[in-house]
Subunit: 203 residues, 2 copies
């Protein structure tokens, strides 16, 4: 088994935080995103969508999509459960994982990719008006999340789950996207501080 990794970029980082929470170690090969290594012929043969992470299984099967890779490890190593145990837990955690992904990670990514000078070669064409349109969406979702986190420790309930991992990389991705957490969102700040203090956050 081999994990094709991409450093601190949000998606490969999700898998590494997940593995750290599970205590799993996987042989890793770095793909140099700065040199557009994900667009090389060699890596395109692994993932035609030219994105990291990718996991090569021992039978040669390639898995891509960070959440699909995480779920694969969850099924092989169920403890501690990060996708839930009962049907209701599993569904609530997937709901929150997706809410965070679609309404926080994606808009932050749209802002970053369509406004940051470093993304000119990656996001063609950059559409600055789309970056602007997404900034208020990030803040609107963070306000909603702050209300939710009033009543519980983690995004999907009283336990740390894969939804918190997506939340961590989303909030950390706000920095290069130049969006700050508003000062009045005390619950989001408390939650982000707590999950950032876990050893897994160093991944």
């Amino acid at each position: 088994m081999k994990l094709y990794d991409g450093g601190r970029a949000p998606n490969p980082r999700r898998v590494k935080v997940f593995l750290a929470e599970k205590g799993i170690s996987v042989p890793t090969e770095q793909v140099d995103l700065g040199a557009l290594g994900q667009k090389s012929a060699a890596f395109t043969a692994i993932n035609p969508l030219q994105r990291v992470p990718a996991l090569q299984l021992d039978d040669g099967t390639i898995l891509t999509e960070s959440i699909a890779i995480c779920r694969y490890f969850e099924l092989l190593h169920p403890e501690p459960p990060l996708f839930g145990r009962t049907p209701k837990e599993v569904a609530v955690i997937e709901m929150w994982q997706r809410r965070i992904e679609l309404h926080l990670l994606m808009p932050v990514s749209h802002v970053f990719r369509n406004s940051h000078p470093a993304m000119k070669e990656m996001e063609v064409p950059q559409v600055p008006a789309w970056a602007e349109a997404n900034k208020p969406r990030v803040l609107e979702f963070l306000h909603l999340l702050d209300q939710e986190l009033k009543g519980r420790a983690f995004v999907a309930g009283d336990s740390y789950t894969v939804a918190d991992i997506t939340g961590l990389v989303s909030v950390d991705f706000m920095k290069p996207a130049k969006i700050a957490i508003p000062d009045n969102l005390a619950n989001v700040k408390r939650w982000h501080t707590e999950i950032s203090a876990r050893p897994s956050a160093k991944a």
Copy 2:
């Protein structure tokens, strides 16, 4: 249990096609998207993100996100499996479900929402340049999908899965987005014709 539905819109339709494939019937309440019923105070109390579908469980729990709702039903009614059985099957199906969602359904949705006159009140502001930027992404992914479908009947392998359901609603959503399947993509056309002929596609 009650499903808040939204007619032929892609996300509520995913759940209905899934339920039809499973042979499950669920009491349903229509939310009138034409009248912006999803933004009413009553529905906002159910889903603060103001989107359908939503599933209310008998204990009052609200599940949103079509794929989380589908997985909940998969766990309650495992046959026929639409999310896979073994860890590898589950991961490959989730990979394809996400690839279709992120690289087909989303760009089609961006085109529709940012160019269709009917979406002016829903997508504020509309960014026509973002619609234009997404059209070639739709076609690029369809070409990749056509290569994949050369070697197999369905998106994620030899069986119909939830990835085909996302594929069906994505391709059907291309019509209001005014994007046609290129004539030379014979495998995509064959696949779309076949999954459209299943009784579940009427949902």
